[in-house]
């Protein structure tokens, strides 16, 4: 019986019951390796990188990026993109801050409000993209501005003072930890695990990949493409709401307009570095998590090494090129074989 496979692929995993491809891709394995090496190097060359005082804030700072990145993974897998998350975060943050400070809402309720606001923003993005039939990058460029406008209006050129200390549960301080790990990061793990499970074990999740692979064919097999395309944007919006609270908690008792600036690119960087293809159809949440850790490690590392903080951006840029380049190379090698 002729073996019709073009490339030798060992039957990985158990024979019975394993019905999906391997859980860990090459990219992710490499990423884990890179992270380990980086942490060791930083531990050697800085006074105290590998200490709790260093790692805990790192995890806490990585949390908002990871939260948004998780949602962004689903968006990018369906061949979309969302550049408006930074402005969305600002809006959610200021709404929650005002509710807590001016209306004395308790933190959980305020969180709910923030999540709802985020979800609505995400819904707007999703609707405009699917109904308008326009490239997501243009639409989200535009909504980014609109959200920023809304956020600025609520801020009204002031800052919000007096964020209640109860938010510290989400923050980077001692109140925000469980067994030494920041709550926010634990939240990230829970959310990431949930979406990972969804995208791997449910039909709806697998349909994201189908849509990203070939939207037209997906429609032909009966997938509700419009609905499935909107969901990732809404999900991202909801997660932005949570990330907004974490970002607020990570800061001081004063919330400024600059909250979350640049996080859209950090999130996209995390997703792309994690091995998700920007053209859709491929990727996993685990990679994004590792990507977020890498981005934050670079930022924290640069500071701890005493280098100019802006160099972090440079390294992130290089990391993007290397990660995507490696992915492209791997794809090309696979295609050449078939």
């Amino acid at each position: 019986m002729t073996d019709l496979l073009t490339r030798d692929r060992p039957a990985a995993g158990k024979r019975r019951g394993r019905v999906l491809p391997r859980a860990l891709s090459t990219q992710e394995v490499v990423l884990i390796g890179v992270l380990v090496v980086l942490w060791i190097l930083l531990g050697v060359f800085t006074p105290n990188f590998l200490s709790a005082q260093s790692i805990q804030p790192l995890l806490a700072s990585a949390a908002p990026i990871a939260l948004i990145g998780v949602g962004m993974t689903a968006v990018i897998v369906t061949a979309g993109i969302d550049i408006s998350v930074a402005s969305m975060l600002m809006v959610c943050a200021v709404v929650m801050a005002k509710l807590m400070v001016d209306s004395s809402w308790p933190v959980p309720l305020a969180l709910l409000a923030g999540v709802v606001v985020g979800g609505l923003c995400g819904l707007l993005n999703g609707l405009l993209i699917t109904i308008g039939g326009v490239h997501p990058i243009i639409i989200t460029f535009g909504t980014s501005n609109i959200f920023m406008f809304i956020g600025w209006r609520i801020f009204d050129s002031k800052v919000v003072n007096g964020i209640p200390t109860s938010v510290a549960w989400f923050g980077r301080g001692a109140d925000g930890r469980f067994l030494g790990v920041p709550h926010s990061f634990l939240l990230v793990i829970v959310v990431a695990a949930a979406l990972w499970w969804y995208m791997r074990y449910t039909a709806g999740g697998r349909h994201f990949y189908a849509i990203g692979n070939d939207q037209h064919a997906a429609r032909l097999v009966g997938i509700r493409v419009q609905k499935r395309t909107i969901i990732p944007y809404v999900l991202t919006g909801l997660l932005v709401g949570v990330a907004a609270l974490v970002a607020t908690a990570n800061g001081t008792q004063t919330l400024a307009q600059s909250v979350g600036q640049g996080i859209e690119l950090q999130a996209i960087a995390a997703v792309v570095i994690g091995g998700t293809s920007i053209v859709g159809g491929r990727g996993s949440v685990l990679g994004t998590l590792l990507g977020a850790l890498l981005v934050q490690t670079v930022e924290s590392g640069v500071i701890q090494l005493g280098w100019a903080p802006q160099l972090a951006k440079f390294f992130v840029g290089i990391a993007i090129i290397i990660a995507v380049g490696a992915d492209l190379l791997q794809q090309r090698l696979t295609r050449r074989a078939s």
Partner: protein
């Protein structure tokens, strides 16, 4: 796969009418306005100016909005229009090509220019050429990543956006360069009574930078063979390849040009602020956003192959003068806020309109 063409296709005889005998006047007018974006923009521009002039006359605005306002605001049109043209060149090549790094190139070249002219004492003309060349090199990195290594343009320019921005900041320890020669450059931002004393003064930058750039880009896109290739690749890159056009070279050139224009914009901003600042192109949300907005507003299709210089220039005027008007209608910080809203709404609206128009009239699948 040889199977593809022999899959007997149904004979294609759909004749999309060249004449539209049963089109009403109104529908014909709508079609003209929608497909000739420049016309629609001119109409919108005129309407906007009439409204703003009217509001100014009625005293609603916090300051006069008149011919002088229009003329003096032209200084803002210069960098925006130039960058929008740069974006147009890239977006024309199709397949979602875009350049997110233009703002960072402006920042980095600003610093380079600052070094060349302000610190190393190179003559001005040499520094300007140097700036353009450095910009071209930076754009070529994007071009190489996209055209020769197959990176998606979004990712390549995202990475260089980061890399160039950080280099700009780090290269002079986050300090701007404001040597005396640089400060003297402020003269270039002066306004000149070109058309006689009774006519508002036009900023020199328009003549020194904007008009030459518009002319050169127009020439490249409409009269030089490169323009043909850009449109061909953007319309159908497979057909372009089969027709013997070098896809990689065309895409590479587009990004290199975008970088070169960004380099020239760096000179403009240094002159305008009399200082070479490391965040020249990245302040606020960056320069890429308004540039892309103007290009989309001008009807440049993100799928490629559609876009005209005239549209970009008019769109730039529209956006800049609208911004000026907004500042007068909503003084203080409110003004900046509403400018942002206007930009966002314009972008979304223009994008939706582009999509609708292209599907309906341009027979794009």
């Amino acid at each position: 796969m040889s199977g593809k063409h022999a899959q007997a296709l149904a004979p294609d005889t759909t004749l999309i009418a060249q004449t539209r005998p049963d089109e009403t006047r109104a529908a014909a007018l709508m079609r003209t306005l929608l497909t000739r974006r420049e016309l629609m923009l001119v109409v919108l521009l005129v309407i906007m100016l009439v409204v703003l002039f009217g509001l100014s006359g009625a005293g609603v605005t916090s300051g006069p909005y008149n011919g002088v306002t229009l003329a003096s605001n032209l200084i803002n049109v210069v960098p925006l229009a130039m960058l929008a043209l740069a974006e147009m060149i890239v977006i024309l090549t199709g397949r979602g090509a875009i350049d997110l790094s233009v703002g960072s190139i402006v920042s980095l070249v600003s610093m380079a220019f600052g070094y060349m002219y302000g610190i190393w004492g190179m003559p001005l003309w040499a520094s300007i050429i140097g700036a353009v060349l450095v910009g071209a090199v930076l754009g070529s990195v994007n071009g190489a990543l996209v055209a020769f290594l197959g990176f998606p343009p979004l990712i390549a320019t995202l990475a260089t956006y980061y890399a160039y921005w950080s280099l700009a900041i780090v290269v002079n320890d986050q300090q701007p360069i404001s040597s005396p020669e640089i400060q003297a450059l402020y003269d270039t931002a002066r306004s000149l009574p070109i058309f006689g004393e009774s006519f508002p003064r036009i900023p020199a930058g328009v003549f020194l930078f904007l008009i030459p750039t518009v002319v050169v880009v127009w020439y490249l896109v409409s009269r030089h063979p490169l323009g043909r290739r850009l449109y061909a690749v953007g319309t159908n890159d497979v057909a372009a390849k089969w027709a013997g056009i070098d896809l990689a070279r065309t895409r590479f050139t587009a990004f290199a040009l975008s970088g070169a224009i960004s380099g020239l914009v760096a000179v403009v901003t240094v002159g305008q602020f009399a200082s070479a600042r490391p965040d020249a192109g990245n302040a606020g949300s960056g320069m890429a956003l308004p540039a892309i907005t103007i290009a989309v507003l001008a009807g440049v299709a993100i799928t490629g192959g559609i876009g005209r210089v005239s549209g970009v220039v008019i769109a730039a005027l529209l956006v800049t003068w609208l911004n000026a008007g907004i500042l007068l209608l909503f003084p203080g910080n409110h003004g900046t806020q509403y400018q942002l809203l206007a930009l966002g709404v314009l972008l979304v609206g223009a994008a939706l309109l582009n999509g609708y128009t292209n599907r309906k009239y341009h027979i794009i699948n």
